[in-house]
């Protein structure tokens, strides 16, 4: 693994799940669509198939709910929605992340000020 890939992987760990939670904050989205949207974000460098185990964990800890639904055109789709617990976790992350980011920006000199 290159240094860049290692860094990206480290940064992704612990933040990607909140990107997922935010994605389904306002609308229910089916799994394949979540995976595709994250896969299109080049800087996240996610391997699509590794998102499904993440979705599974978020469901098991009660942050996401899921239900299979028939699709008019294709195979059944599994739609994910944010639970109250997930909403609280996302809100908490936003607070923590803002403060975390500001500190890192200040220490690393990326704040632009």
């Amino acid at each position: 693994m290159t240094d860049v890939a290692q860094l990206t992987s480290s940064l992704r760990r612990g933040t990607l799940e909140f990107c997922v939670l935010a994605m389904v904050e306002r609308e229910d989205i089916y799994g394949t669509e979540i995976v595709r949207r994250l896969g299109e974000e080049r800087s996240l460098a996610t391997t699509e198939g590794t998102i499904y185990p993440l979705l599974s964990r978020l469901r098991r800890v009660g942050w996401l709910d899921s239900k299979w639904s028939e699709s008019p055109t294709g195979p059944p789709r599994r739609y994910y929605s944010l639970t109250d617990g997930g909403r609280a976790a996302l809100s908490n992350f936003r607070t923590e992340w803002t403060s975390f980011r500001q500190t890192v920006d200040r220490l690393v000199g990326t704040g632009g000020a």
Binding site: T32, S56, P75, P76, R77
Partner: protein, 160 residues
């Protein structure tokens, strides 16, 4: 061509399944159902050709990468029980579709071997450090002689 397309995805799913044997049954089936739905959706939305399906599978990632993520997300308790090594049964006359995964699998196996070597050497050196008195000497030495007290001299591991 249609048959070929089914084979690529089916073979891929089998490769993933082989690596998930350490997961709880429901999690294993859940992941396989998710991946199947993903593949079906891609097929429905235009991945008609063999090559297009291979691209879909490449974006999904190697079976090793998916299995690694599955074990990681399954929690520390399951990570402690190492995933069973993928059974190398049915060498199967490899069709040309296997070329894509060949080097990926080779790389994964390589990393795994390096990991094993690392663990083995760690265990070896920690054993040497904990037990400076070689067991062989204690056993072979006749009881008449006074058994040597704890000697600080370690067992002189070869090629230290």
């Amino acid at each position: 061509m249609s048959i070929n397309k089914v084979d690529v995805a089916g073979e891929y799913l089998r490769e993933v399944e082989l690596r998930l044997s350490g997961l709880p049954v429901l999690q294993r089936h859940e992941l396989l159902a998710d991946l199947s739905a993903h593949i079906e959706t891609a097929r429905e939305q235009g991945a008609y050709s063999d090559g297009e399906m291979v691209e879909v599978l490449q974006r999904l990632g190697s079976p090793e990468a998916i299995a690694a993520a599955a074990y990681e997300e399954a929690g520390p308790r399951l990570v402690m029980a190492p995933p069973e090594p993928p059974p190398i049964r049915a060498p199967a006359p490899a069709p040309r579709n296997n070329n894509i995964w060949a080097w990926v699998i080779a790389a994964a196996v390589g990393f795994f071997v390096l990991f094993l070597i690392g663990v083995a050497s760690l265990m070896f050196f920690s054993q040497v450090a904990e037990a400076p008195v070689p067991a062989v000497q204690q056993i072979d030495r006749p009881p008449v002689q006074e058994p040597a007290p704890d000697q600080p001299v370690p067992a002189r591991p070869d090629g230290e």
